[in-house]
């Protein structure tokens, strides 16, 4: 096989892996949209916030140290201890649950019955708030995150695929990041766990009932507000997972908040209401944009990854307005 073709396959494989990372963020969006009809723009910032909190707890940093130092002229930075990764993840999950309760109490409760656009705007406001809050709490510098996930290219795969190129070709096997592979594994586990949870537990059934019809769910005695707290907690947990993956990949930094923008075309493609849609959409977008950059990028100046996903989703939507797996939109006068 020619080296170019093999490179294209390598790009495709890496695109698939990148797609999984997009799916992780998109998943959080879908969960909240299904349960409460809220298009949660803050999902990306939630991932950033979760990752910041995780790093902060692991390194034993003092929250709000910048603010405290500015106000009282002190020089506090950290407590001087290190928390093991698993315990820190647990603590962060607790923080995210707490956050979900606050969001429900302070925001959602007051906005029941408002138009979707108002709720959407409220989540943008929430995103702004959390961005400032996270930076204020933990500082705005780039932090490395290491929870013990494997990193770097997999030598085993490289060695065992080198023969594909044949004699005399400049091909040295597929380069695939171990971190991307573990992300794929984690995403698969997460989706299976979520599916099992929503199919076989009482809470899961209640969640699906609320997603189906708010009023009907209320009338059989399901507490909407409790369900919302649960959904936002789950979404917070998904955000934590996404934050860990992206944070390990490129460091915990401000730009993490923008992965929400990468997840949006995934949602459009897969449909706002479908969990499998988020996964398949992520894979298509990841593959498509890497392949397009590889094939057409050099011809038109590169950096096409910024918009290709959107244009792809846009063209796609013209033919199927509800996305791949979205519910059919039926409109009546």
């Amino acid at each position: 096989m020619s080296a170019d073709f093999l490179y294209a396959i390598e790009v495709l494989l890496n695109g698939l892996m990148a797609g999984v990372m997009y799916s992780l963020v998109a998943l959080g969006f879908v969960l909240i949209f299904k349960a409460s009809g809220v298009f949660n723009y803050a999902q990306g910032v939630m991932a950033l916030f979760a990752a910041l909190t995780l790093v902060g707890i692991m390194n034993g940093e003092v929250p709000f140290s910048h603010l405290i130092n500015a106000m009282f002229g002190t020089q506090v930075h950290d407590f001087g201890w290190h928390v093991p990764a698993l315990a820190a993840i647990g603590l962060t999950a607790v923080v995210m649950v707490f956050f979900a309760i606050l969001v429900e109490k302070l925001i959602l409760k007051h906005l029941i019955g408002q138009e979707p656009i108002i709720l959407f705007m409220a989540t943008i406001g929430l995103a702004y708030f959390m961005e400032g809050f996270g930076d204020m709490m933990w500082g705005a510098d780039i932090k490395p995150l290491d929870v013990g996930l494997p990193k770097g290219g997999s030598i085993w795969i490289e060695e065992n695929t080198a023969w594909l190129g044949g004699e005399g070709q400049r091909f040295f096997g597929f380069f695939i990041d171990k971190l991307d592979m573990s992300a794929t594994l984690v995403a698969a586990i997460l989706v299976i766990a979520l599916t099992l949870f929503s199919q076989y537990t009482a809470t899961g059934r209640a969640l699906r009932a609320v997603a189906d019809d708010h009023q009907a769910a209320l009338s059989v005695g399901i507490s909407l507000r409790a369900i919302w707290v649960i959904t936002w907690s789950i979404a917070g947990f998904v955000a934590l997972v996404a934050g860990i993956m992206w944070g390990s990949k490129s460091g915990v930094q401000f730009s993490l908040a923008f992965i929400a923008l990468k997840a949006l075309p995934v949602l459009m493609l897969g449909g706002f209401t479908s969990i499998p849609g988020a996964i398949v959409g992520g894979l298509i977008i990841g593959m498509g944009e890497k392949l397009f950059e590889f094939l057409a990028g050099p011809l038109i100046g590169g950096a096409t990854e910024n918009w290709f996903a959107y244009v792809l989703a846009l063209i796609f939507l013209v033919f199927r307005p509800q996305g791949l797996f979205g519910e059919r939109i039926i409109e009546r006068v």
């Binding site: 910048h66 007051h110 959390m130 809050f133 918009w307 959107y310 846009l314």
Partner: protein
Amino acid sequence: MYYREAGDFKTSYRKDQQNFPIRFDRVHFWTMMVLAFAVIPFFINDYWANAVFVPFLIYAIATLGLNILTGYCGQVSLGSAGFMAVGAYASYKLMTSFPDLNFFVIVVLSGAITALVGTAFGLPSLRIKGFYLAVATLAAQFFLVWLFNKVPWFYNNSASGQISVPRRDMFGIAITGPEASAATKYLVCLAIVFVLGFIARNLTRGRIGRSWMAIRDMDFAAEIIGVDPLRAKLSAFAISSFFIGIAGSLFFTIYLGAVEVGEAFGIERSFLILFMVIIGGLGSIYGSFAGAAFLVLMPVLLKNALVGGLGWPSDVAAHLEFMIMGALIIFFLIVEPHGLARLWAVTKQKLRLWPFPY
């Protein structure tokens, strides 16, 4: 006591249909205009022009534009900054290609070019609705910014990739470029805002505005009673983009002078304009101005209070600014989802009866 329609008799249809039916409003509106046109220019200095007045006026145009699309026609757009970039680059190309063209002609032409681009990106709105459309407009945002970054023709192959405005005169006074005085900048923007505000107000209460509102309230029902959705939606996109293009053109030529597309017209700008629309009030001309004024003034005030007043380091102040901005938006949405315009309407209603309870 003074805010009454009693005794204000209308004797012709023309008078009954005028913009400000209550005399009090009329008098105060024109007093404010006289103040804005004839008094402020004599007192304005560089700081006030660059930090408050010019950005306010330019954002007011952009907000009017987005309000026509989102508030009146119900099509949420997150691509405003992309369209502003079209206006900015259109005026740059026109100014450098036709050096003798009048500045106002250039501004209007830039708006027209943006209207064409906006209509093209509005085409999917016929199929896609709601949040899907909002996300689809992000395609315009990212694609346009990328285009202006990557194609050297748009910035005349300048080495830095920036565009900077050449000097243009009118009646012997510099309007654009570094030599332009604060008062000229302010007056140029004010004149354009005045004309565009007048156009927007009258468009939205005429036939075309009503067809937009019908589409916003329910597009299927509107179609059944004979509103052509193709024409209504695309005209909303075109006119909205025309306004936003003019805002972008002024943003570049008058306000910034030199522009790097990713910085000046990034996605944050789109969100800012959408915030202005929502905080001001969806579907309200007055609200567009109120929202723009609020969000231009707030950061200036916060910065002065926190950095100047309390002496905090600027990074902490910047984080706090984000937090306050987010909290304020949420607060506003909870207290008054219909924005400042509704607050104003409620106040007016109360004033009408004051000092009597009923």
